[in-house]
């Protein structure tokens, strides 16, 4: 119970800190996806051949920006919490965990706005949409695993955060968010299949955009990827955590 209070307090701190010095606060979070959406509409919409293109792109963007924000914030979460780590006996995984929870809160608010606005862009409101919650849960577990990995290795090699910020745009364009999967040359399809984020975006899009519900195959792929990433992240984190204080 005490741990729940602590995680809550840390998550709240992250949300406060994130928008502390910005003028329009929370709404800043909508601006970035909106900008990307406009770029996609200008460049790709007319020859994408995708019906209901705006809903298609937005459903991908919402999930992508959750992922991008949460990893971008968490990578420095251990290094940035050095003061607390050195003063209090609290488990160090609370820091990437609370970053993830803070960002989940943000995602829920974003989804709320998304559900309202997409009314004008042909969203089909039905019970299937509720499946987005287990989908987000799996995606969050995946992101948490990656966060555990990134934040702990970043303590020892600070260039991890720089490398990660460099890889992110490449990953973004390797994920079919603004273009149709079918537009990729089958020769290079392999690279897309290696991209773990692709599976989560696809699952989310099946729920939010496609008329038919996602297959069991899709769910099990995501479940395997999420738990695999979590196990790797947890393993690396537990190997390194005892040396955090000396290395920061």
């Amino acid at each position: 119970m005490q741990n729940i209070t602590r995680i809550y307090a840390l998550s709240k701190r992250n949300i406060i800190l994130r928008y502390k010095n910005s003028l329009i606060g929370f709404f800043w979070g909508f601006f970035k996806p909106l900008l990307y959406l406009l770029i996609f509409i200008v460049i790709f919409k007319h020859n994408s051949g995708i019906p209901n293109y705006i809903l298609f792109v937005t459903s991908g963007l919402v999930l992508w920006f959750f992922f991008s924000n949460v990893t971008g914030q968490s990578v420095g979460s251990i290094v940035g919490s050095v003061g607390l780590l050195k003063s209090l006996n609290i488990p160090s995984y609370f820091f990437p965990l609370s970053e993830t929870i803070g960002e989940l809160f943000n995602l829920l608010l974003t989804l709320l706005v998304f559900f309202v606005i997409m009314f004008w862009f042909g969203m089909d409101y039905n019970l299937k949409l509720l499946l987005i919650f287990p989908c987000i849960f799996l995606f969050a577990v995946f992101a948490l695993g990656l966060n555990l990995f990134l934040s702990s290795v970043n303590v020892f090699f600070r260039d991890i955060s720089i490398i990660w910020n460099t890889i992110q745009p490449a990953l973004f364009f390797m994920t079919p968010i603004g273009y149709a999967e079918s537009s990729i040359d089958p020769k290079y399809k392999f690279f897309i299949n290696c991209n773990p984020i692709y599976y989560f975006i696809k699952l989310g899009r099946s729920i939010l955009y496609d008329p038919v519900a996602p297959t069991w195959q899709q769910w099990s792929n995501c479940l395997i990827i999420a738990s695999g990433m979590y196990i790797i992240g947890h393993f690396v984190f537990s190997r390194l955590k005892n040396q955090f204080i000396s290395a920061i």
Partner: protein, 242 residues
Amino acid sequence: MNSDIIIKLENVHVSFWQNNVGVYSLKDLITQRKSPFKTKTIINDISFEVKRGESLGIVGRNGSGKSTLLRTIAGIIKPKSGTVTVNGTFAPILAIGAGLEQELTGYENITLLLSLYGIQRKNTNAVANIREFSELSDEVLRMPVKQYSSGMVARLAFSISLANDSDILIIDEVLAVGDQGFQVKCVDKIKQIKNQGKTILFVSHFPDGVRDICDNAILLEQGEITHRGLAKDICEQYKMLF
């Protein structure tokens, strides 16, 4: 274990990974082909006991392992070998304001640390006590901590660590930056806490402070206890180091 003994360390070793010179990034790791870390022993085979109600001073040069020893006792650092047994609760170690979030205001820091420490946020009494003891005005507490002077940070940090009604109070060099009035107030408060029968671990570079507050003391040199005994004797030993 005897219930009179609140802290017991047995053959505790703590070692850190230290960056090998020049390996700070992945690029260095690849180009230099060196192992990135070497192990450095910080605490070397330390055993001691602290009785309930005792106040123990820890003195030593910079880098002799005092803060590491405190953090090991508080469970923040895990020892490589040996056992640390503690029969009580700790207040947070707020060494000169570490642990305060620079961007948050004084009030936000208070609620954050209190809830991290398991005090209910609704406990407005605790907040009032902190404000009263720190003598910081309402206006100051609404400012982000990054705008505080070092003395104000020390006041806030020390007041927060006192707010917790814990069995063991760990004081790591907090008295160094406050002004005269606050220092006197802190020493009085520490003595008052001591008289309540609480255990105090006190790290300081000022032998007079240690002699004033502590019954016993230990002198650390390069991670080992070289002298232990009554606070006033150890303070003499400490002065002879320089």
